[in-house]
Amino acid sequence: MTRFPILLDIYQRGDGPLKRVERISLPEAGDYAIGRSSENQIVLDTPEISKRHAWLLVRDDGIAVSDRGSTNRTYIGDTEVDTSPWDGALPIRIAQFEIHLVPQTAAGAAATKVNVPQDNATRALASGPATGAPSPAPRGQSIEVALNAPNAPDEMRFPRNVFKNEIVSAEELKSSEYFVGEITYLSVGAGLGSFVWADHLRIFGVAKSDIRAIGDDIIPYANYQRLCRNSQIPPHERLRSNSISTPDNIWGFPGYASRETWKELKEFRFTGLKHIFQVFGEASLTQSFTPRSGEVFKSIDSEAQRIGWREMFVSGRVLGIRKTNDERYAVAYRVPEDQARGGVRERIMIGKFLHVATGYPATRFTDDLQAFKARFPEEARVFNAYENHEVVYRTAEQNKMPVTVVVRGRGIVASRIIQRLYEARKKNSGITIVHQMRNPIGAQEGYRYKRAQRYVYNHIENQAFNWPKACWGGQILREVERATPEERAKIYEAIGGTTTADRRDWRNIIQLGIGDGWYKPVFGHFETLELVKTDQGPKIQMKLKAQGSQPAAEVVADFVVDCTGLIGDISHSPCLRDLVETYRLPRNPAVSGAKVGGITVTPDYEITALRNGTGRAYAAGQITLGGPQPAVDSFLGLQYAALRSVDHLGILGAPNVSLFGPLRSFSQWIKWCTNATP
């Protein structure tokens, strides 16, 4: 006999050990759908989960689980199941999630009364009994675990229950229990894009009480830092960013190079002057200066303190955005478990000027690796470079046997991973690197744009930053800004592509590796990926298709690290997808391998389709990819977007946004230098 409510703990495997992300309670028998899209009752919103992934069939006499033909399948313990009874002895495993049944005795002790009205099923389910130690959602993960009432019509669920129409009534929202307040400047995302926007607003004259930014983590660079850490950029390693790309300083002066020089000169280390010479000679005479990640994060901390970011930050995950009937925007969000008032986690805030900067929705896996992971979920052998894959280095370093690592992709991350493996070779000289690239590139085959051509070395195109420098200002930025969408697509085609930085140490590593035979480039697509048993344990066997002059090849490897990047496709974000669908927002042409481009914005970064009377909505960052500026996901790109939109607000006469002429600019810069509040 099943005793209700049934308590389920949902764990997530991320960086480090399993973390409990949610405890949910199923109050009655029913068919509970598990999947990515919001019509499911148990929403696990991550790309590895299929839209309609599985059923959890809860009956009075027991529970069963049934896969719905999902891509990555459903498991009980290690056994793949189609439909199977579930007694809870082993967890249900779906992608990186594990669902555990809380034992009935524990449940009996813990299952306190759900203290919300029974008629509001959504609420009762969403809140669940608050038992045990609170387990906040893992930091910087774009995963939303939500429980919806079984068979509840879509319009009953938050925020659909209040966001019934394209334009919602502000009076109704204000009288609802969700309403928490009104604000003039409201940013969604609270990452670096929001931070830089808020920084500009503050410096242009807006008080911190008039700005709010809603997001997962109070540290604006939390997500970026996680990606850096995973892709092997610890604090002392340098980012691929320029000296004058300063998210902590809207003027870009002093840049990170002169700050680093100054710091070293204060300690009487005159070698610091080389940073200044780097800026002086880059990129023709010297390698470009790039700042250490740790220094950039410290500088952002300091600026956050100065502008009062703590007071502007609102913790929560944004679920929906609507225009209101009083020329503003309503933002629906859910706060973390520990901030729930009386179990209610849903909130609505109304803003006059909206800013959307939600960043990358997900990490990407190429299809063959995705399929391999699904077939052999127990084998921690295939990783995206942006997820935690320390196990690769740990195993490689501790192993006294030969270890082969396939590095896929030719971008900057691949370079950095190869450097890390080179360092690991000092502990185990049996490490071999197989560098898999789509196709060979001859020395004269670099990308061409107008009269210029990109430099190629070792089948890799070299470029200091992820776009040609003039994408951040000057000629190419001007050309892209003035081009029609079709012309833009052509320019992006010509200047895009994967590149790495021309770093002397990286070149030397590859030269050394080719000479000693532990670095081997291979070209082409994998035909098959198989797990094979060898004397040294299981390995991945890969077959490469013959391609042009490239013969077919076979590689037997211990690990594959996929360095092909992050998913920029905004449809992976339910909130953005809903926004795009509701207001039929125009999209940019596709660039950089994405199927569709970002949200179309004006050169002032306004989303014109969201204009609401005198209310204005702006966007920034990756979600605007393919628009008026190529380098949207860079520090300086975010600064440019923020400057354009805040300048636009100034011209519109938005409250307290100055026109920021030379005198105000200078006096604010002095305040920055003296660390005074703007």
Partner: protein, 159 residues
């Protein structure tokens, strides 16, 4: 630096007005001073020479800018390193000296008063006084006042 042609021209004019003219004015007074200690402006006739040199420098620069832009097209990054800027500023000055030597300013005064080694030394000191602060301004001081300048390829004004 990521200049456009208009940006190069406007930045040149900006530095001419902000830095070149005031420094040349002070320079002229100082140079004139010892020659006529009783009347600070009595040396005005002589003082116009640094302004003539400064104007020639501006003119040569404005004419060369399209040439720089042409060569910039062949650079993949479409940038102009500070080192190039530094080097070509000196080249521009050498061109100005050559023009003076060739006689473009001969209409202003008798050749015996113009083509003296003392004058050529003064031109060089004057150039150094103008060039060093102008170049430093490009390294970052302009954007303290004009935040949009660096994105606009060196043009003034709003976005």
């Amino acid at each position: 630096m990521l200049p456009t042609l208009k940006g190069r021209w406007l930045t040149r004019i900006l530095l001419f007005l902000w830095i070149g003219v005031p420094i040349t004015f002070i320079f002229s007074l100082l140079v004139a001073g010892p020659r006529s200690p009783s009347l600070p402006f009595a040396g005005w006739h002589y003082d116009i020479l640094p302004f003539q040199i400064l104007s020639l420098l501006l003119l040569v620069g404005l004419i060369l800018d399209p040439v720089y832009i042409y060569f910039q097209q062949f650079r993949w990054e479409r940038d102009w390193p500070f080192a190039f800027q530094f080097f070509f500023s000196i080249v521009e000055f050498v061109i100005v000296l050559a023009l003076v030597w060739w006689g473009v300013l001969d209409f202003t005064r008798p050749a015996s008063q113009l083509h003296t080694s003392e004058n050529y030394l003064l031109f060089t000191i004057h150039f150094a006084c103008v060039f060093i602060p102008s170049f430093t301004a490009l390294l970052g001081f302009v954007q303290i006042f004009m935040i949009r300048w660096r994105f606009k390829g060196g043009e003034w004004g709003r976005m």
